[in-house]
Symmetry: C2
Subunit: 401 residues, 2 copies
């Protein structure tokens, strides 16, 4: 059997994702589509609107054959580390291809640029540092430095282009046999916050925003299973998961933390801990808080990730230890259909990473220890006894079928 990998967040799974899965299958004629999916928190440092289990169910219904977890130490990360983790898992699962959606739409410039980045790594790093020293934020500095070392075809200010570039770069660096592919995204702007009226495709950001107001508005932009899963979740748990819900916990935590302890938290650098401590006293919402902390130097995304690490109490030291090898240390399926199951059956005897269906066995793995803390922080907003039940779900849920 032949497998293609995709890297996803499905926050939540919508018609654009459905299209991506269908196009991936068509373009690669793979037998099995494997999605590596962020767990409880996303790359941009936000709690996923519903837990990984619900999102995995949506993915299965949307045509994915196997959903595996991208654990927190890789998921809540810069694009570079996010890609390293995802590629290492797809590689461990013997995917022949990795197919990502991008603004650009053809693979050649990704390969060229990635090669340039790998072979002129030090030169590029040096340039990035120079720009950052000038007060330019990391994303911009990265693009400018890329231009300086001779690149001029790929627009890396586009969020999916930059992610795609990092997948290809990770493939090269990990000497993986995975062949990268790309398909053009049909949602023009990732950050769109209004729902389009003439189409049935909208960004996940706009869908999440509209879910806060009314479920009905989003029905046409998501497959039926997504709609139903979201409804059931809210009916059972009485909430979505969004930053505002976690704000009381973040505030409580920041208020009772010493500045020295904030400095230990992942991604905290250069005195931002003092800004955080000061702004939290007056902030009455997460949005207010981040607006007060924001400077030119820190992107909103970076600040959101820092807040996520504070919430989950994940330190620089822990993260560094966990991702030292730049690879995942286990593969954890969250959901699979018959095809997914058959594929796993076929490859598992050759796999060099443990295939984990019961998280209990991973208790002492540094990556899993972080993943577990993140799950525990994630369910903290649920009322009892739902919170306790959700906690036990992390250990007790076998991969969904």
């Amino acid at each position: 059997m032949k497998a293609v990998g995709i890297v996803v967040e499905y926050n939540p799974f919508h018609n654009g994702h459905l299209y991506h899965v269908q196009q991936t299958r068509k373009k690669t004629s793979a037998d099995c589509v494997i999605a590596v999916m962020s767990s409880s928190f996303t790359q941009r440092g936000e709690p996923a609107i519903v837990p990984k289990w619900e999102r995995a169910r949506m993915a299965l219904a949307g045509g994915v054959d196997l959903v595996v977890e991208l654990p927190y130490p890789f998921a809540v990360q810069t694009a570079e580390w996010f890609a390293q983790g995802a590629v290492s898992i797809l590689d461990a699962l013997f995917c022949e291809q990795l197919c990502f959606g991008s603004e650009h739409g053809s693979i050649e410039p990704f390969i060229k640029t990635a090669q340039l980045l790998v072979y002129k790594k030090e030169q590029h790093n040096e340039k990035v540092k120079q720009y950052v020293r000038q007060g330019i934020n990391y994303a911009k500095a990265y693009a400018l430095a890329l231009y300086d070392i001779g690149h001029d075809t790929l627009d890396v200010s586009q969020p999916n282009n930059i992610l795609g570039l990092h997948y290809v770069k990770a493939i090269i660096e990990q000497r993986s046999n995975i062949k990268p592919e790309t398909i053009q995204r049909i949602v023009a702007h990732y950050h769109d916050e209004t729902l389009p009226v003439n189409d049935n495709i909208a960004s996940a950001t706009s869908i999440r925003r509209f879910l806060q107001v009314s479920d009905d508005d989003v029905a046409r932009y998501v497959p039926h299973t997504t709609y139903e899963t979201l409804q059931t979740y809210r009916h059972t748990y009485m909430t979505w998961h969004d930053w505002e819900k976690y704000f009381p916990f973040l505030k409580y935590r920041l208020l009772t933390m010493e500045v020295d302890d904030i400095q230990q938290i992942a991604e905290v650098e250069e005195g931002i801990e003092y800004r955080l401590k000061k702004a939290i006293i007056h902030a009455t919402s997460f949005h207010d808080f981040l607006s007060a902390v924001k400077t030119k130097r820190y992107t909103w995304t970076r600040l959101q990730r820092i807040c996520t690490h504070i919430l989950t109490n994940v330190t620089k030291k822990e993260i560094a230890k966990a991702i030292e090898s730049k690879r995942a240390t286990y593969v954890r399926p969250l959901a699979m259909n018959e095809t997914g199951r058959a594929y796993l059956q076929e490859v598992k005897k050759h796999m060099t990473l443990p295939l984990v269906t019961n998280a209990k066995h991973m208790r002492h793995d540094p990556i899993y220890q972080i993943e577990k803390k993140a799950t525990q922080a994630y369910v903290s907003i649920l009322p009892e006894p739902l919170c306790s039940e959700a906690l036990q779900r992390e250990y007790k849920t076998p991969p969904l079928r």
Copy 2:
């Protein structure tokens, strides 16, 4: 002017406390009654039902002339340290007497027993250790060891007797000129949980319990000002402060803490951190949680204090540094009437501790740093923008008149 000191929690101020203030004034014929009052959390490790400012207002209306804060590092402590802190503040304020309520009711056995404890300190400590090693909890071990070194008149299993004993002992140890006095308590049982029907005096525990159900039931057991203050507080803040309200925060915190970090927390000893970590997963309420953690060795009170220290993130190291000298480092009035103001005016030029009316100036004091964290944890349960307002109150509230 002549001042008498009392040590209180007023959680909340009730008719029994009113009687105590009146009797104290009568017995000592002091011009000024000074109450040292626990701040946000009590000696038994519970959040006070309303903030210190509200409780100070009740005290003033109940006849106290000056209310000063017993800061967290002394307030949330064993009886011994609680007494050391309180006596040091009353001593700094030149109180001539300290008058406490006790089950026993006459002062001689307190003085005798305290002297015994001071002069046979090492012998007593050694005996206590022996009993604790046998698995007996600290309170019992303390009483048994006291009996062993020759004491036989004071029943130290009574909570107010033991507190009183520690006041007298602290007076001796601190070589203070304060003269101790006691009056018999008229609430027979401190831990009573039902309201008496034939009287207008009930324990604070039973009053707190009944407040959860209905305000009306408690009206006859508290002065009018207490009743009104409680009503206004609940009307404004939509809540009382009790452990169950803080349980989501405690649970979140314990779940995301490493075992090593729990070991650093004040009063955590002998592997209790593993019991805490294990029990929290299944616990759906604070009461369930503590019941699951409880062993013979740990009293309920001790466990509650540990939970309070976890909630406020107060470590052994911080506490040790703060109370190294066994004395308070400042005197902070929370409320005063004209008599209280006149008294302060008279004594302040002779005081050796700073008199703090704006907490901002104490920012770098180790005791105040802990007090501040406790305030911040205490207000975390309030909805926004009330939480932010309450935080600013800590700095901005001048002593009430």
